[in-house]
């Protein structure tokens, strides 16, 4: 199968997955118990008219899909209703326009709320991932090179330990000792009301970014180290490494010119996929450090039962995962000349 057909297959599967996610996402929040309208404002004194008004405002008075008034509990409706007037199609239609609905809590478009938060998360994750990748890979290479020596065992145990740490707990401990012993900020992205500008502003953000990034890096560094080590060990026991040694190449040369490229294949795949999920994974770190990112938004939305925000965030994360998977597949197909058939 030629490369273009391979790519076409991958892209069409991604599109199908996107469709699945849209449908799944929509029905998820309709199936689960709890009346969305009431959840938005949980005041028992609300009159019936007020509840109905909220319903209309958020489009919850329309049937979910053609024959169902609502899914929970299932109430049948008028099957002759124009399908495009149902909640589902309105939802899909809005999606194409880039509208994700209106937040119950903020009363602002969900898109606006999420995009603000998204950049903060990208800042946190971007930095953390890069550090984790660089350090993890380096340690993994050293450990594989010096397999079965003290260096290897130390690195291995260190990584297993890092893997075993709950992300939020590591954050708590670092925060506790960081703030009491080093005077680092307790949370947030910037010092409220300080009014820093320019370089000082970035310095301030940097101080707030230090501990969350450190937490993130430690947690992911362990995983990357283990994978790099394993991949490199596999590669270094292949026949072509022996050929390279017989050709008179030095150890460093062999690792650089022969081994790394092969070992990067599984690494690249996992890095790309992690990037997709780390938006979700940031939830823990952002809640510990009160970092105003996407993860925190999800957490708050859960607590407040702010369904539109939840739905929108869900969709955003799922899309980024699908995109990351696609990128991983594409990168892999370019790195590995053997990929021609799925």
């Amino acid at each position: 199968m030629s490369r273009s057909r391979y790519l076409l297959r991958k892209i069409s599967w991604s599109l199908f997955t996107v469709l699945f996610v849209i449908v799944f996402n929509f029905f998820l929040f309709r199936v689960l118990p709890g009346d969305p309208a009431r959840a938005g404002v949980r005041d028992p004194r609300m009159s019936a008219e007020a509840v109905e008004a909220i319903r209309v405002k958020f489009g919850l008075d329309k049937p979910v899909i053609n024959c169902f008034q609502s899914l929970n509990p299932i109430k049948f409706g008028d099957c002759a209703v124009n399908p495009l007037e149902t909640q589902f199609f309105i939802y899909v239609g809005n999606l194409f326009k880039g509208e994700l609905g209106l937040s119950f809590h903020y009363n602002r478009p969900v898109t606006q709320v999420l995009v603000e938060r998204l950049w903060n998360t990208i800042l946190l994750i971007g930095l953390g991932q890069i550090l984790a990748i660089v350090i993890g890979m380096f340690l993994g290479i050293v450990a594989a090179w010096r397999a079965r020596t003290v260096i290897d065992y130390t690195a291995l145990l260190g990584s297993l330990l890092a893997w075993s740490l709950p992300t939020f707990w590591l954050g708590i401990i670092l925060l506790f000792f960081g703030s009491s012993n080093f005077g680092l900020p307790i949370g947030g992205k910037e010092t409220a009301g300080a009014g820093f500008t320019g370089w000082e502003h970035w310095q301030d953000i940097g101080r707030h970014l230090l501990l969350p990034t450190l937490t993130y890096t430690i947690v992911y560094m362990g995983e990357y180290m283990l994978i790099m080590r394993s991949a490199l060990l596999d590669v270094l026991s292949e026949d072509y490494i022996l050929t390279a040694k017989a050709k008179g190449l030095r150890t460093f040369q062999i690792i650089k010119d022969h081994a790394l490229k092969n070992a990067m294949l599984p690494m690249v795949t996992i890095i790309a996929i992690n990037l997709g999920f780390t938006v979700a994974g940031a939830i823990q770190i952002e809640s510990v450090f009160s970092w105003p990112g996407l993860g925190g938004a999800i957490y708050e939305a859960v607590v407040r039962r702010d369904f539109p925000v939840l739905q929108g965030a869900f969709l955003l994360i799922a899309f980024s995962v699908i995109l990351a998977n696609l990128l991983a597949d594409l990168t892999y197909s370019y790195l590995d000349p053997r990929v021609q058939d799925v």
């Binding site: 699945f20 999920f277 823990q284 957490y299 995962v321 998977n325």
Partner: protein, 657 residues
């Protein structure tokens, strides 16, 4: 390999499983040897001990804990977040309760949730995987597509949403974590089932009329079980992590004080500002302890059930002191300058806890200009070890224990690695390996790899000159030069071997070691490669050491023959002598075993028995157990290498004295 095979969910996949693709279990390891091997695995043992400790503490919580967390206490302000003291070893929490007791009872909740949730995941995943792998076809397609879709939905947010919108009760949490944790297990189990399904014994069982349920129960499940066990351990650790995260986020069961819940209360109720580190450290420590225990146990199990050598070609064996001993003078076979002289070379393989395997012992030979030496012997007789030793390419367990390798005025056995790599490898002596499929790097072009050899030893850096030289080399072996830009997988088997030959010639070496270059190829291609080698030898005046177990090839192409058995020289002579006047019984038997085309109806002779175990050699002659001419002395005293006729013919047999 698709990237989907590496789906790494932050919370639900594990780098240890991901990094090791599922092994093909050749047989269910007998339980006894499994326990023996596991006992020696330190990582696994530590993990197991840690786990057992936590289980004991959880089970005997009422006996171990100093206070009952459910009992009400009279407290004053001072009792809140009190520092660790004699009365409260880990201090108190925000409600004045003893942290240590909460910690001990908390282990129950965390462990219960972890175990039960993971059982649900493993059950669903295992069943799905086995059904998908076993029944294949549409069923497998549908199930795997569903798995792929589920892997795309971010798990932690999904679990959070489910718990938040339903009831955060303990059973709910167990159920939800379990329901969303089956995907990785399903993938692993399916791969393993696929691998097992096509094994011969399954086909045999089918032929005997066994039905599907029987096959699944008696063949598939036992071989998939070990993998499931390893996976279970890791899924449990992930489930515990998930539960603690949920509880920390406030979605835990308020009536069940798990470790995550303790952290949630501490964090949100001012432990940080009160400086109450004990309330924050203790529960986390518990989580880390149990998860680490499971991770270590999983790593240990993985190492036992899927042992990998974890050594590789770049491990450097330390240089030992070599004892050199001369065993007398020989006379020459023919004229010609001696290029390579190996004297009394001995190589051992070391395994911890076992006597060393004496893979090569006291082997000597000489290679002259233009000479082709055939190195013959059974599998495991030490041929390849000997060849690897010449360029010091032995695996990490190999050691040259004595002898000399004289080449170009140097002793290759003792010169520095640097000197060896710079002057001798490829430049003086080059090697062609068996089965060139993996001997060439699959992600680099063939031309690139040949050019690398040239750049390494000859001072040619001009890209045009390199390209020209690479083209020249490829044409020399009969490959069109435009294929220099192709990758190894785009070459056929025979072409790859020819490319290896071209690469070996790149630096104009004097000696070429061909280690069974045609064994992996079919007969027609074999003939081509041999013809090529013969031509090149004539054209370039090469000296070749040809390792093979094909006596026909040796007869046709070689000048001298070295017959090895069990790591020692059996016989060493010119090719005429070997074929017409073999003196060692092993050589004689080998020749007898070679089928004669002129006698098509004759019975095939074979040498009964097996080669000796190199770490458990019989006293006396190594061939004695299988030798038709052996007598008493043979079983007691190892024969020396006897020179015959003064023309270089050597045989190690008592009968020859």
């Amino acid at each position: 390999m698709s990237s989907l095979e590496f789906q790494a969910n932050e919370t639900l996949a594990h780098p240890i499983i991901l990094a090791h693709p599922p092994p093909l279990m050749t047989s269910s390891p007998p339980t006894r040897t499994f326990f023996q091997t596991f006992r020696r695995n330190r990582i696994g043992l530590v993990g197991l001990v840690m786990l057992i400790l936590s289980i004991i503490v959880a089970v005997f919580a009422p006996l171990v804990a100093p206070y009952d967390p459910k009992a009400s206490v009279e407290i004053t302000i001072d009792d809140l977040y009190a520092q660790p003291s004699a009365a409260h070893l880990l201090g108190t929490d925000d409600a004045g309760k003893d942290v240590l007791s909460n910690f001990i009872f908390g282990s129950r909740v965390s462990l219960i949730v972890g175990f039960f949730a993971s059982f649900i995941s493993i059950f669903i995943g295992g069943v799905t995987g086995i059904i998908a792998g076993f029944y294949g076809g549409r069923v497998e397609n549908v199930l795997m597509r569903i798995t792929d879709l589920m892997l795309v939905i971010p798990d932690l947010p999904l679990i959070i949403v489910f718990i938040a919108l339903t009831k955060p009760s303990l059973w709910n949490i167990i159920f939800v974590i379990g329901i969303f944790g089956w995907t990785t297990t399903a993938r692993l189990v399916r791969s393993q089932t696929l691998a097992v399904k096509s094994r011969k014994f399954v086909l045999r069982a089918r032929a005997l009329g066994a039905g599907n349920p029987h096959i699944i129960r008696h063949h598939i499940i036992p071989l998939v079980m070990p993998l499931i066990v390893v996976n279970t351990v890791l899924v449990i650790s992930l489930a515990i992590l998930n539960e603690s995260t949920l509880s920390f986020l406030g979605l835990g069961d308020p009536t069940a004080l798990s470790w995550g819940q303790m952290l949630n209360y501490a964090f949100s109720r001012g432990a940080m500002s009160a400086g109450a580190w004990w309330a924050l450290v203790a529960p986390g420590f518990g989580i880390v302890w149990v998860v680490l225990a499971l991770t270590l146990l999983g790593q240990g199990l993985e190492q036992v059930l899927n042992p990998r050598l974890e050594t590789h070609h770049l491990n450097h064996a330390p240089q030992g002191n070599l004892s050199t001993s001369h065993q007398g003078e020989w006379t020459e076979f023919t004229g010609g300058r001696v290029l390579l002289e190996v004297e009394n070379l001995s190589v051992n393989y070391l395994t911890p806890g076992q006597p060393p395997a004496r893979a090569v012992e006291n082997v000597s030979f000489r290679l002259r200009e233009g000479e082709m030496l055939g190195l013959v012997g059974e599998s495991g007789c030490g041929k390849s070890t000997l060849m690897l030793a010449l360029l010091r390419l032995l695996p990490a367990a190999g050691r040259i224990v004595s002898g000399q390798i004289l080449f170009d005025g140097r002793d290759l056995a003792t010169i520095s690695e640097d000197e060896l790599a710079r002057d001798i490898r490829w430049k003086g002596i080059a090697m062609i390996f068996q089965g060139a499929m993996n001997a060439l790097n699959p992600v680099r072009t063939v031309g690139d790899q040949i050019a690398e050899a040239i750049k390494q030893h000859l001072d040619i850096t001009d890209p045009a000159a390199l390209e020209a030289r690479v083209a020249e080399l490829l044409e020399l072996v009969g490959i069109s030069s435009f294929r220099a830009g192709h990758y190894p997988h785009q070459y056929s088997g025979g072409m790859r071997q020819r490319a290896m030959i071209a690469m070996a010639l790149a630096c104009n070496p004097q000696v070429i070691i061909a280690d069974e270059p045609t064994t992996a190829l079919d007969v027609m291609i074999q003939a081509q490669i041999l013809e090529l080698l013969a031509n090149l030898r004539q054209k370039l005046g090469l000296s070749i050491i040809f390792v093979t177990h094909d006596l026909g090839v040796v007869a046709e192409m070689c000048d001298t023959v070295l017959v090895m058995y069990g790591g020692v020289t059996a016989e060493y002579a010119t090719v005429d002598t070997i074929y017409n006047e073999p003196k060692h019984p092993y050589t004689q038997e080998l020749l007898k075993a070679f089928p004669d085309l002129t006698k098509p109806g004759a019975r095939l002779a074979a040498i009964p028995g097996y080669p000796p175990r190199l770490n458990d050699l019989p006293p006396g002659c190594r061939f004695a157990p299988r030798c038709p001419a052996a007598f008493d002395r043979c079983h007691v005293e190892a024969p020396a290498l006897h020179a015959l006729n003064g023309d270089g013919h050597i045989a190690s047999c008592h009968l020859v004295e």
